[in-house]
Amino acid sequence: MILMGRSRMSEAVSALDGLVWDQGIARIEEVGPQGMITLRGDLGSGTIKDLATGVTSVDMPGQSEANCVADRGICWMSPDELLILCSYEDVAMNLQRIQKGLGDAHALAVDVSEARATFRISGDHVREVLAKLVPVDLSTEAFKDGMFRRTRMAQVPAAFWMCNDHMVQIVCFRSHAQYVFDLLKTAAAPGSEVNLL
């Protein structure tokens, strides 16, 4: 198993350095450095479940669900993959704990904090703003709190979940951060309410 280290030589800066835009029908905010660990393996195994819930202190989510509290959480990515969220400072410690706990299990845990960008959009029209960009039914009946969806956002991969009825959190690749921010700005342009959802 490979221990992925992190340079401590420089200050961590997120892709857009916390850029905020709130001149439209929703507030768009790039979230500063967010700790993320990809954990792949047999999700049915007790070891993996215990490690994931142990380092995050949240319950194990079901299929296509996310359990997040503040900057901690577990997202169900695929039948053999979890995305573990924690504070940026705790990544090294948590990763070490996971690596140690995995032992000889056929599994993989890697720090992907630097590979991703995170956005939060908030306001009364969040469902609408997002629905303009993703091929997903975002009505309140179809997409509920706690659900987690990996899909595409216009032309790039993205994943999102509802933090509450007025806030969505989005994760995308770091290199797509500016593109996603611009997309969200366009979808939330002033006067662009559809009032459908």
Partner: protein, 113 residues
């Protein structure tokens, strides 16, 4: 527009979230086989009007490969099933037969049932 349900993650999405991987259940003819078989394996594909078995990948979702049985004429999806089988499962064949009573199942790679 095709609406596909990924059997791995259970998500139902529209086709742009997926990638088509071509005809399913091909038998591989590798080194040591006849040139004709190898050519057929590499280049010759069915192009049926009607029932068709395809490989698809949930590219923007869980990333897994799976199989789809669908009609190329009406775009009806008969069902999706796991990737690690060499022939369509019975329940998929039964579903197709119930929807297309005249359809004759062809064994992948040529021939008929």
């Amino acid at each position: 527009m095709l609406m596909l349900t990924c059997p791995c993650c259970g998500v139902t999405g529209e086709e742009t979230e997926f990638t088509n991987g071509g005809e399913a259940h091909l038998k591989r003819y590798g080194p040591g086989t006849s040139d004709l078989d190898f050519e057929a394996y590499l280049f010759l594909r069915d192009n049926p009007k009607g029932v068709h078995f395809e490989r698809w990948r949930h590219t923007y979702g869980c990333g897994k490969w799976f199989h789809v049985a669908r009609c190329t004429m009406t775009l009806e999806i008969f069902g999706t099933y796991e990737a690690h089988v060499t022939t369509p499962p019975q329940e998929i064949l039964a579903k197709i037969k119930s929807r297309r009573p005249d359809w004759i199942a062809r064994i992948p790679g040529g021939g008929s049932e």
